[in-house]
């Protein structure tokens, strides 16, 4: 089977990224656009753009049946969901299958099972991959208290239904458990309509390490190394890098092997990411979740492996055998990515949409910019605030950090406020430079700011 024309059910930088991969492969592209995106860069460079609905995502990019109807209506033989929106919707994948459209991703069943946190955890346990102690659903303070008796403190309480940091609390003392439980339950109820919570062991000195896997439909699974995404603000990634720094080689191998084992035993197909939390004090890692799609931070992996992940997604979706065996993958150098958001860090990262009056990205060898923005572009208020991904490559980590610092200095944007200056401070933090950061670094820096001292 060959893919001749693909429908792209997404917007922004990833739509542009996917269209460029199509151009590289000689595949035609049809892009879904909302009314607000008719004039977007993606719409201009795609072979065709189709207006699928009004600006609001719930009436356009989030309607699976419209996306598939538009794909069928424009004679597309495949659909790429990108990330976010419907990328992890089993319904979209199923509708594609029902209508003879190749979904560029795993099967609906695989999306459904990995999307269910309890099922994903059960699968990991079945394949002998460590999971965090605790992690049981609790509906009452008494149940939570019983879990804490087993795992010990501190624990993290989080919404069973959601993500994005809502309903998440860390409890360090027994006395706080009752109050924090009540607050987390009410936050979870308000945000997700389900106040069920998880209680799990909280790792104070944690890093977020994730492994990129690539699998074909013939049972071949390889990994493309890991990424470190420990710089997060309220569980939203801000800076990512590959490979993960300061990781004992034996541990690195174990993490990579665990990810391949999970994907392989699960029979996974397409590109995926297995996320782990790494306890730096104990030198242990635990399975968090598997994302069954291309990820925002995939470019850092591409930079150090030389493999175009989106192109490979198309190849395996078309039924082709992986072009690489594990031994063919060569890791070289170091890459860092900053997610440039149109936000005001000094005002609690409030979104700052608006017209871009000046857009002068840095240009040099080893700098890559994935973006849909340009001078004159109006950053719409309807969607997320990411306007670009600035990626640099260096022969080693120190060089990559220096390059990123200078690249940020030379990135001139006027109009919306951006997170770039904040990210420059982040990567200049001694803990980041040394590679000894943990997932609490960003919040600690922000807390330091509030107390009026420059961390």
């Amino acid at each position: 089977m060959t893919i001749r024309r693909v429908f792209i059910a997404n917007r922004g930088e990833i739509a542009v990224r996917i269209i460029r991969a199509c151009q590289g492969l000689g595949i035609e592209s049809v892009l879904a656009v909302s009314e607000a995106d008719r004039d977007s860069l993606g719409a201009r460079i795609a072979d065709r753009a189709v207006c699928v609905g009004p600006a609001s995502a719930t009436e356009s990019y989030l309607i699976a049946k419209n996306m598939v109807a538009a794909a069928v209506g424009t004679d597309c033989d495949a659909l790429h969901p990108g990330y976010g929106f419907l990328a992890e919707s089993p319904d979209l994948a199923q509708l594609c299958a029902d209508n003879g459209v190749t979904f560029v991703g795993p099967s609906p069943e695989q999306i459904r099972r990995m999307g269910n946190k309890i099922e994903a955890r059960r699968l990991a346990e079945e394949f002998d991959i460590p999971t965090l102690p605790g992690s049981t659903r609790v509906g009452s303070y008494e149940e939570a208290s019983a879990v804490v008796a087993e795992t010990g403190l501190p624990v993290m309480i989080k919404a069973a239904a959601g993500g994005g940091g809502k309903g998440m609390r860390i409890v360090t003392g027994t006395g706080q458990l009752r109050d924090e439980f009540a607050r987390a339950a009410s936050e979870a109820g308000a945000a997700f309509g389900d106040s069920t919570l998880y209680v799990e062991k909280f790792i104070a000195n944690a890093r977020h390490v994730e492994v990129q896997v690539l699998a074909d439909s013939h049972g071949n699974v390889i990994h493309l190394g890991e990424r470190d995404c420990s710089l997060q603000r309220r569980h939203q990634k801000m800076v990512e890098e590959a490979p993960a720094p300061n990781l004992p080689e034996a541990l690195r191998d174990k993490i990579r092997e665990a990810a391949v084992r999970l994907a392989s035993r699960f029979g996974y197909r397409n590109a995926g990411t297995v996320e782990f939390i790494l306890d730096q004090d104990e030198g242990r890692f635990y399975f968090l979740e598997m994302n069954t799609r291309i990820q925002v931070e995939h470019p850092v992996t591409e930079m150090i492996t030389g493999i175009d992940l989106v192109e490979e997604q198309f190849r395996v979706a078309a039924g082709k055998t992986l072009r690489f065996a594990q031994d063919d993958i060569v890791f070289r150098g170091h890459a860092i990515e900053c997610r440039v958001n149109a936000e005001m860090p000094e005002e609690g990262f409030r979104p700052s949409p608006g017209r871009i009056s000046v857009w002068q990205p840095p240009q040099a060898p080893y700098i890559r910019l994935d973006s849909h923005c340009h001078e004159g572009y109006l950053v719409p208020m309807f969607y997320d605030s990411m306007i670009a991904k600035l990626i640099v490559y260096g022969t080693d980590r120190a060089e990559a950090i220096d390059r990123m610092t200078r690249a940020i200095d030379r990135f001139h944007i006027e109009g919306p406020a951006t997170t770039l200056a904040f990210q420059k401070r982040l990567i200049c933090e001694p803990a980041f430079r040394d590679g000894t950061m943990n997932t609490g670094l960003v919040d600690r820096m922000l807390a330091g700011n509030r107390e009026g001292k420059q961390p």
């Binding site: 035609e28 049809v30 009314e35 065709r48 699928v52 208020m381």
Partner: protein, 174 residues
């Protein structure tokens, strides 16, 4: 309206409301506000002189639905891309556009054996169906929304239409 109009914020809309109020209190017939790449004209009903009126709404992005995307490689791609909408035939003054309320396949008749809902010259009321749009076997009726006569039909039977695409134009009854 144009895509720029679609990105007005609540605050912008409130400001436009203030403009309308200000105009109402003044002795002027209309007011045109022009910013870098945004223009709005607010009027009291008297015709706005030619050349001052806001640009007509740009039709939905590429309309040639059934025409397959060029099979030739990249060289021809940009032309087929999201270029400005094809030059529409001149639109007669005073016609009301009936636009697609969803994207999907447009059907001009209730079933293949029947006559079309409307043809040029058909009399319609606001509730009259002018066609059906099918999305995944779900048929949505599109109504005229105005009393008048069908002046133009802009799409073909079984054509894939985009959200907001003009399906037909109606000359309202006086």
């Amino acid at each position: 309206m144009t895509s720029k109009f679609d990105t007005l914020s609540e605050a912008d809309i409130a400001r436009i409301g203030q403009l309308v109020e200000a105009l109402d209190k003044s002795g002027f017939d209309y007011l045109t506000l022009e910013l870098a790449d945004f223009r709005i004209t607010v009027g009291t009903g008297a015709a706005v002189p030619d050349g001052v009126a806001a640009a007509p709404p740009s039709p939905a992005a590429p309309v040639a639905a059934k025409a397959p995307v060029s099979a030739a490689p990249q060289a021809t791609a940009p032309a087929a891309g999201a270029a400005p909408a094809p030059a529409a035939e001149p639109v007669e003054e005073g016609l009301v556009d009936v636009v697609a309320t969803t994207m999907g396949r447009f059907y001009s008749r209730p079933d293949p054996k029947s006559d079309p809902f409307v043809t040029v010259g058909s009399e319609v009321t606001p509730e009259s169906s002018v066609g059906l749009i099918e999305v995944m076997k779900l048929f949505n009726a599109v109504t005229a929304g105005v009393t008048g006569t069908v002046a133009q039909i802009c799409v073909e039977d079984a054509q894939f239409v985009e959200y907001g695409q003009v399906l037909c134009r109606i000359r309202p009854s006086a």
